[in-house]
């Protein structure tokens, strides 16, 4: 390839860039593509959910939504970037309740999510399920917790990372039941599920999409569903609320800077509301096995404040701070 042809290619590329960016001049927000930070790695459930909704929402927003993965420090790297960004509405974050409401309670962070960010939308939530391998002797959650109470430090809890989405509901349950268990950390939910299947650890809290196939295959026994409601796929398994425990869902939430214009947040919320009537969206969410139990921003703000207090108590109990 001669140098002349290379320059020609560059020139064509430049012109294309100008043409494409030129068409993006519109009257009101959003005038240009929106960046959606995901503070987790590629291939996780947030990534998957985001790939679905960002491929459809441009129809209702009039602009592309570009996913930007910023993993690191259990979500803190991406969250810090979202808080630092200009509050012009062109940088949003797609995160979950433990990063948003719990992490700032554990350690000193250069940001306060409650002050800096406001909820645009809760996309959906995932309730983790308490389960054990079938060769374990416990038929119910109470039996397992009884064993744990009688044998301090013997019951092994495989979790997917400290203060994360499976650790926190498990820790809340154990602390309320007064069980002193052994916490075994795994890198994410997958290896933790594998540890249960291999019999390395006693119990784990896994999400339905991963756990249900193993239950159907008769490899694991389900003991309880975190959260208030039973799951329609497994109507016999009691919920945390029925058993006297609290919380436990992972809320997948889209947050914006609190300083962003109120009108623009409304534009975003309206676009998300329309999304839930979209056939392709429904179809794809069903295919990836996620529910569509959304929550509007203002409603989630109330839940958010409540959960914050719950977590504050839990952290006080566990760390003694």
């Amino acid at each position: 390839m001669s140098r002349k042809t290379i320059f020609r290619f560059l020139l064509v590329g430049l012109i294309l860039v100008f043409v494409i960016s030129g068409t993006a001049v519109a009257a009101k927000y959003p005038k240009k593509p929106i960046t959606m930070i995901i503070p987790f790695g590629a291939g996780g459930s947030h990534d998957l959910n985001a790939r679905v909704f960002t491929s459809i929402i441009p129809q209702y927003l009039g602009q592309a939504v570009v996913v930007k993965l910023m993993p690191g420090a259990g979500g803190q790297t991406g969250t810090a970037a979202a808080v630092r960004a200009k509050p012009d509405g062109y940088t949003l974050i797609f995160t979950h309740n433990y990063v948003d409401q719990l992490q700032p309670l554990i350690e000193e962070l250069p940001y306060d999510t409650m002050k800096a960010l406001v909820t645009v939308w809760r996309l959906n939530y995932a309730p983790p399920i308490v389960f054990v391998r079938v060769d374990r002797p416990w038929k119910t959650l109470e039996e397992m917790l009884d064993y744990g109470r009688k044998n301090p430090g013997k019951l092994q809890f495989a979790h997917s990372g400290k203060w994360g989405a499976t650790f926190t509901p498990g820790a809340m349950m154990l602390s309320k039941a007064g069980v002193n268990a052994q916490f075994i950390p795994y890198k994410g939910g997958g290896p933790a599920v594998a540890a249960i299947l291999a019999g390395d650890a006693d119990f784990h809290l896994g999400f339905p999409s991963v756990v249900l196939p193993h239950a159907k295959a008769g490899k694991v026994r389900l003991l309880a569903v975190a959260g208030d409601k039973r799951l329609k796929e497994i109507p016999d398994i009691r919920s945390f609320k029925e058993l006297g425990f609290e919380g436990g869902n992972m809320d997948r939430i889209i947050m914006a800077p609190r300083k962003m214009k109120e009108d623009n947040i409304k534009i975003l919320r309206d676009a998300f509301r329309k999304l839930y009537d979209d056939k392709t969206f429904k179809n794809l969410m069903g295919k990836i096995g996620e529910n569509m139990l959304y929550m509007d921003g203002p409603d989630y703000e109330k839940l958010r404040a409540r959960q914050k207090e719950q977590y504050r108590e839990l952290v006080k109990k566990i760390t003694g701070k």
Partner: protein, 510 residues
């Protein structure tokens, strides 16, 4: 099972499957060759496309991106010393040296053939031994992983070149760097000195580009000699093709590395990087001329590339049989599977047997297409180094910086790049080899994590737990002294041989 295999094989003989696999391979090679763009990023971006395609078109398309991406990563590693991923690090030990000798095309070709061979054989192994591999995968828990990584570290470290003391120093520096940030078990910050940006640890990619590419660029400028290739384009030499004898010479190495890669691939959590290192180290160990390794040895490139590709087949097994992705790439494939209504897990093979076999056969086809496309692409890429140095060096510099930034769009990573560039340059001047540091940086955290988990699982009685409850781990731990003694004996024998050969002339030097 044979029936579903035959049925599956017929299912994937479709023109659109071939077309999309080829497209995926091309995209993968292009993205992989660009520093900073990882295969995982490319797959995540292209994932939604697969939602709208037939399962036997969409998923092979992503597999194509994956396979192409790994080879693309070795292109930049060989030609300009920028490893696109951790898996290509071992390729930078010999690749750039070959390029400097004007054998860039040969290096690329041996990389291609070894990659395809490693991939192809591991896919066939996976196809026939999916059951046994699934059992091994479940048997490998934290104690076994710790034992495997420890054994790998010993194999790798006993083969490093140059002064042993210098190697150890670099190894310790690497371990120290790997500890910066939150500890993997309790998430407590350590060695961060209150700097928030390093809380997530030192990012791997900017570090790799820093220690490998920057010294190369600075060295080329400094010496004012044609470092990448002679100033006046000598196309005939840069384009010299791999000869059959050269491939024959590498074949034993390729076979060995394929075996190592496939075995390590069956153990979840080990991964391509370790496989490439161990494959390289074993090739050097087995070679009659280990001194040529690191100075432009075709076998070195073959060893690393065959090993890291052979990992691919077996890593799919936990995904298919348990629904548990072993790494980011398989996690994205999981997304593609689920979106197609194929839920990987214990019942996938019984419910969708033909489709699963069709996918595995499609992987084999992808390898053949990969060979053809790679063969076409290699001469084009090989000519990159024939660009005049005054243009090429600034372009590489731009790519080094852009690649570090684009990885996670954090300006802090540029500082990391400059810091490790300076460190790599200083190390080169003082004749320290940076590769032990990089190996320790990558392997250290895996060892720390799996050992920490083991201690937790043991619940206070570590020896009893490992030696009574985990016979598999015990077996691997037992191998460590055996391997060490074997290596030591071999080294002594070699030295004695060298001495007896030298003594008549030089009088016992050595």
């Amino acid at each position: 099972m044979w029936d579903s295999f035959l049925e599956g094989a017929q299912l994937c003989l479709r023109l659109d499957t071939f077309g999309m696999v080829s497209l995926g391979l091309i995209l993968g090679i292009l993205v992989g060759a660009l520093p900073g763009f990882t295969t995982v990023m490319a797959m995540a971006i292209l994932l939604p496309i697969s939602f709208f395609l037939h399962p036997l078109v969409g998923i092979p398309f992503l597999i194509g991106v994956y396979k192409g991406g790994i080879f693309g990563g070795s292109i930049s590693a060989i030609l300009v010393s920028i490893p696109g991923t951790g898996a290509a690090v071992a390729t930078t030990f010999d690749g750039p040296a070959l390029t400097k000798k004007g054998q860039g095309r040969k290096a690329l070709e041996i990389a291609l053939y070894s990659s395809v061979f490693g991939d192809f054989s591991s896919d066939i192994l996976t196809l026939f031994f999916i059951g046994p591999i699934a059992i091994i995968a479940l048997k490998v828990g934290p104690p076994e992983l710790a034992a495997i990584v420890l054994l790998s570290l010993i194999i790798i470290s006993t083969t490093s070149s140059g002064s042993a003391v210098k190697g150890l120093i670099m190894c310790f520096i690497g371990l120290l760097f790997s500890m910066v940030g939150q500890d993997p078990l309790g998430y407590m910050s350590r060695f961060t000195f209150g700097i928030f940006a390093v809380k997530a640890g030192i990012p791997l990619l900017p570090m790799l580009i820093g220690v490998f590419a920057i010294p190369e660029i600075l060295g080329a400028i400094e010496r004012e000699v044609p470092s990448f290739i002679s100033e006046k384009v000598d196309l005939s030499k840069a384009g010299e093709k791999l000869r059959y004898e050269e491939f024959r010479r590498c074949f034993r190495t390729i076979l060995r590395s394929t075996g190592i890669g496939a075995a390590l691939g069956a153990c979840p959590g080990v991964g391509q990087v370790v496989a490439a290192f161990v494959g390289y180290a074993s090739a050097k160990k087995a070679s009659k001329h280990p001194e040529t390794f690191g100075k432009g040895e075709l076998e070195g490139v073959a060893a690393a590339e065959a090993a890291n590709n052979a990992v691919n087949g077996p890593t799919l097994v936990p995904l298919l049989t348990l629904g548990i992705p072993g790494d980011n790439v398989t996690a994205i494939l999981l997304g593609a599977f689920i979106a197609q209504g194929l839920r990987p897990g214990p019942r996938l093979l019984t419910e969708h047997g033909p489709t699963v076999f069709a996918l595995l056969v499609a992987m084999l086809l992808a390898n053949i297409l990969f060979l053809i496309l790679g063969y076409v692409a290699v001469p084009i890429f090989a000519r990159i180094v024939t660009i005049r140095k005054s243009i090429l060096l600034p372009v590489i510099t731009i790519f080094a910086f852009a690649g570090s930034y684009v990885f996670r769009s954090d300006p802090f990573d540029l500082k990391v790049l400059v810091f490790f560039g300076a460190l790599g340059y200083a190390a080169r001047k003082l004749q320290f080899d940076v590769s032990p540091m990089v190996m320790a940086f990558i392997l250290g955290p895996i060892l720390e994590y799996s050992f920490g988990q083991t201690v937790n699982l043991a619940g206070g009685n570590l020896l009893h737990y490992i030696f009574i409850d985990r016979p598999f781990a015990t077996g691997i731990f037992m191998l460590i002294p055996v391997v060490s003694v074997l290596f030591a004996l071999r080294a002594v024998r070699k030295r004695r041989k060298a001495r007896s050969q030298n003594s008549p002339m030089k009088g016992g030097e050595g």
